[in-house]
């Protein structure tokens, strides 16, 4: 030990810098660095915000059910529809995708955790801090009201003098930190922590889609960061980025926002594409058709998504050459997405389909996203878009792709992986009610919006006058929205009653769906240490191939039961990363800084102190294993967390978790 220095000698903790150990209850959740708990936190938080965003949606539909609606005044309406969009995009879909990515990605690559467990926790707590901060604007009287897209100079200090847009800027900046940190973490995780034998092209398609999303986040979040800073400087420090009177160009905001905004929509959809790429093969009892095409089309979408942003700006005056160029690039991007749809269909074709609720939701994605994609293709034709833009036709399009695509995919994921996370199944019966109510309600709500839009109903308006012919479909849509709400209610009932029922029933046992990928090796629910032993991976769908082989006639026969193949979770000597307070403490500092920038700079001080203290504490807290042969890093690196460090326990030889 002579060439390593420790700040904490074994058995002698260093005062406030000791790591929390073996806590239960709320302290366990606050200090956890376990990717599975963090995934659950993301999921639960996102569903809470889903309730809020859903209420906002119902308020909108109540207002628009009749002409000259009186449920809300115009200012309130603007706040409600702005927050509905912000909530659903940043506080529901993105964190739900993060929930699945956090829980499943390490399992799908056969790892014990992510590369940087404390950074992972930080991402969650910072997300929570940002989401709560932004929603505090409701209580403080001034929610943002400029739309989720916040076009300047409308959102500048002259036309938006209240604090609402400041909440927007700061809330999104805070949440952006969470996404960026998470992206860096997961990229390093996928590259460096795969199980032995798992080459990139043996990873599940879901892992690939999540990886592409992380790259999109990595490069897109800095762009909106710039845009938000520029807006903040205009609003708070008198800068001239979007002030036309001083010669600035408001279009700069639009460009910067959409350079982020378009990759963002692929960030929203690709995780669900990944989810159904696991669900569909399982319930078609066939491997995914065209694995390389699925991977490459996902990568292609990732690349091409950077070249289409100004299709959100066709009528903003960018000129015919730009319009033509972006129109063409937008048409091209339909191709890789179409490839995916065809591959899912080809997977189902000739398969032995099992209509579980997860599969129903997956069907929902394929069909609803196709509709949304088709309307998207119509937008790409710039002259047609000139009529469509800023109407309800666009609202229809993006709800078909985000709700019909992203959200239904996430529900497919819920039903599929619920047993893995919680150890019991969700009720299929209630699930079918959930699905049918949601999909019927959804189509009732958003289908007619295509018609309304083409008939000329403007979007982003708080009311419409009678006599334009909008009355019938708006009422129809509003009824549909309440049916969606019923569907969501069925989901909540399903969650609660399934949990209650599970208390008196035997556990679900391993591999309830006869699935294909590595996460199903572990018992249900997943033990805290993930795998008893790391899996040696020899093929794609390694789990499947342990259970099935081809006989002499080339037919697929079962060669091993799930009980034989699956691990039993009984390993006790696996070293895990230690919990830590500091991610929580650091995240807590950000809202203070935000409030300080809005109200009075004095409030920034406790925020900055919390952040600095957390950085200091983080760097100097002992690594998990003060007894280990490696010392502790001045930069608080945690690449030793769990995956490579030997056990603190009996000192016997424990596997080193090689992940080459």
């Amino acid at each position: 030990m002579s060439d390593t220095i420790e700040l904490a000698a074994p058995g002698r903790p260093l005062g406030v810098y000791t790591r929390p150990r073996g806590n239960t209850g709320w302290r366990d959740w606050i200090t956890t660095v376990d990717h599975k708990k963090i995934g659950i936190l993301y999921g639960a938080t996102a569903m809470f915000f889903f309730g809020i965003g859903g209420l906002e949606a119902l308020l909108i539909r109540l207002q628009l059910a009749t002409p000259d609606g009186t449920v809300m005044g115009a200012d309130t309406y603007n706040r409600v529809f702005t927050m509905h969009g912000l909530t659903m995009v940043f506080m529901v879909i993105m964190p739900l995708a993060a929930a699945f990515a956090n829980y499943l990605l390490p399992l799908q690559i056969g790892a014990r955790d992510v590369a940087f467990p404390r950074l992972n926790a930080l991402s969650y707590w910072v997300f929570l801090a940002g989401g709560l901060f932004l929603n505090m604007s409701w209580l403080l009287g001034d929610a943002p009201d400029g739309g989720w897209f916040a076009y300047a100079p409308n959102t500048g200090v002259i036309f938006s003098p209240g604090h609402g847009m400041d909440y927007y800027v700061l809330g999104l900046q805070i949440m952006g930190i969470a996404s960026l940190v998470s992206a860096m973490n997961l990229i390093v995780t996928v590259l460096n922590m795969r199980a032995p034998g798992m080459t990139l092209f043996k990873m599940p398609v879901m892992t690939w889609m999540i990886l592409v999303v992380q790259f999109l986040l990595l490069f897109a979040v800095p762009v909106i960061t710039v845009a938000l800073f520029l807006l903040m400087f205009d609003r708070n420090f008198g800068a001239n980025f979007f002030n036309p009177e001083m010669g600035a160009d408001p279009l700069l905001w639009q460009h910067l926002f959409w350079i982020f905004g378009h990759p963002e929509v692929y960030i929203l959809i690709l995780p669900s594409f990944g989810i159904i790429s696991e669900v569909i093969p399982t319930f078609s009892r066939k491997p995914l058709f065209g694995y390389p095409f699925m991977v490459f089309s996902g990568i292609a979408i990732g690349f091409m998504g950077w070249g289409v942003w100004a299709h959100h700006m066709f009528v903003s005056g960018i000129g015919p050459i730009s319009v033509a160029a972006f129109s063409m690039s937008t048409m091209f991007i339909a191709v890789p997405t179409g490839v995916k749809i065809l591959n899912w269909l080809a997977t189902m074709w000739g398969g032995k389909i099992k209509f579980t609720v997860a599969m129903l939701f997956a069907f929902g994605v394929v069909s609803m996203f196709t509709i949304g994609g088709l309307s998207g293709v119509t937008h790409s034709v710039a002259p047609a878009d000139t009529q469509q833009t800023d109407t309800y036709y666009i609202v229809a399009h993006f709800h078909y792709v985000i709700f019909g695509g992203s959200l239904l995919g996430i529900f497919a994921g819920f039903y599929f992986w619920w047993p893995k996370v919680f150890g019991h199944l969700l009720s299929e019966k209630l699930g079918k009610w959930n699905f049918w109510l949601m999909i019927i309600g959804f189509n009732m709500t958003f289908g007619p919006m295509h018609i309304l839009g083409l008939q000329g109903m403007s979007r982003r308006i708080d009311s419409y006058s009678p006599g334009f012919g909008f009355e019938f479909w708006n009422m129809f849509a509003s009824i549909g929205s309440f049916i969606i709400a019923l569907g969501v209610l069925m989901f909540v009932i399903n969650v609660v009653t399934s949990a209650r029922r599970a208390r008196h029933e035997p556990p679900v046992g391993p591999d309830p769906w006869d699935a294909r990928s590595l996460e199903w090796f572990t018992p249900n629910p997943t033990p805290v240490h993930n795998f008893d032993e790391l899996i040696q991976v020899d093929s794609l769908d390694e789990f499947w191939h342990r259970k099935y082989a081809e006989d002499e006639n080339g037919r697929v026969v079962r060669v091993a039961s799930a009980e034989e193949v699956c691990q039993d979770g009984s390993a006790t000597d696996v070293h895990l990363p230690s919990p830590s307070y500091w991610p929580f403490v650091m995240a807590a500092g950000f809202p203070f800084v935000g409030f300080g920038l809005i109200y009075t700079l004095w409030i920034c001080i406790p925020g900055a102190l919390l952040i600095l203290m957390a950085i200091y504490g983080w760097i100097f807290e002992p690594t998990d294993d003060p007894d280990g042969p490696h010392g502790h890093h001045a930069d608080g690196s945690s690449d030793h967390d769990g995956t490579q460090a030997p056990s603190e326990a009996a000192g016997e030889t424990v596997e080193e978790a090689p992940v080459g």
Binding site: D3, T4, I5, L7, A115, F116, L180, A183, M184, N185, I187, V188, L191, N192, M193, R194, L218, F219, A220, V221, P222, V223, T225, V226, A227, F229, L230, F233, D234, F237, G238, A239, N240, F241, N243, M246, G247, A248, D249, L252, L256, P629, H630, G631, H633, A634, D635, S637, D639, H640, T643, Q644, E656, A657, P658, V659, G660
Partner: protein, 201 residues
């Protein structure tokens, strides 16, 4: 002790590369998009100087050349500090770390002087789109340099406490990567913003 060095340098990882170093490179990739946005904003706005000074009127190229040269040389001292530590030469590691921090501070001092001079000459933050874009871009860069100096000083403190050993040279390497990146951004800014002929009024 084989495990320590092996793990430090990325044995046992899928790519054979250290997690920490890979993380820093991934981060630097994203920083390109951040600075690219600020630089583009500047380029779009450099000719929009309202009633204030134009860039060509106000830049002091000889002065900025000196501070650019200083920052460039700080990259040399940074890599020398790393090289010293990799040889186990703790003393020179400290000397060059200190030199880098000092050169960086000198650069920041130069920036502060430049900004205050511009202010006196009528170019304030709110004067024009050009001025806002200029100060924001160079200000962000300056903040990055300052954070780098904080990291360098932290390394120095760690060194004096005896915890910055040869085995930990990767930490210095990673701070160095950040520092060189910040220098490289300035190479870009110096050429594109200062040296390329700017509009004059």
């Amino acid at each position: 002790m084989a495990d320590a060095a092996a793990v430090d340098h990325g044995h046992g990882t899928g790519t054979g590369l250290s997690n920490n170093k890979l993380l820093m490179w991934v981060f630097l990739g994203s920083e390109c998009l951040l600075f690219g946005g600020l630089i583009s904003t500047y380029l779009i706005y450099r000719s929009r100087y309202a009633d204030g000074p134009a860039p060509g009127d106000i830049f002091d190229i000889p002065f900025t050349s000196v501070s650019s040269f200083i920052l460039l040389m700080s990259s040399l001292t940074m890599v020398l500090s790393l090289s010293a530590l990799q040889r186990g030469d703790i003393r020179n590691n400290r000397v060059w770390l200190l030199a880098t921090a000092l050169l960086g501070s000198l650069f920041i001092g130069g920036q502060v002087y430049e900004f205050t001079t511009f202010l006196r000459e009528g170019l304030g933050y709110t004067t024009s789109p050009f001025s806002s874009a200029f100060f924001t871009l160079t200000g962000f860069h300056g903040i990055h340099v300052s954070l780098g100096i904080v990291m360098l000083v932290s390394l120095l403190i760690a060194s004096f406490r005896g915890t910055l050993t040869k085995e930990r040279s990767e930490t210095v390497e990673i701070v160095g990567l950040y520092w060189h990146f910040v220098d490289v951004v300035w190479i870009f800014i110096f050429t594109v913003i200062y040296l390329v002929p700017s509009p004059t009024s």
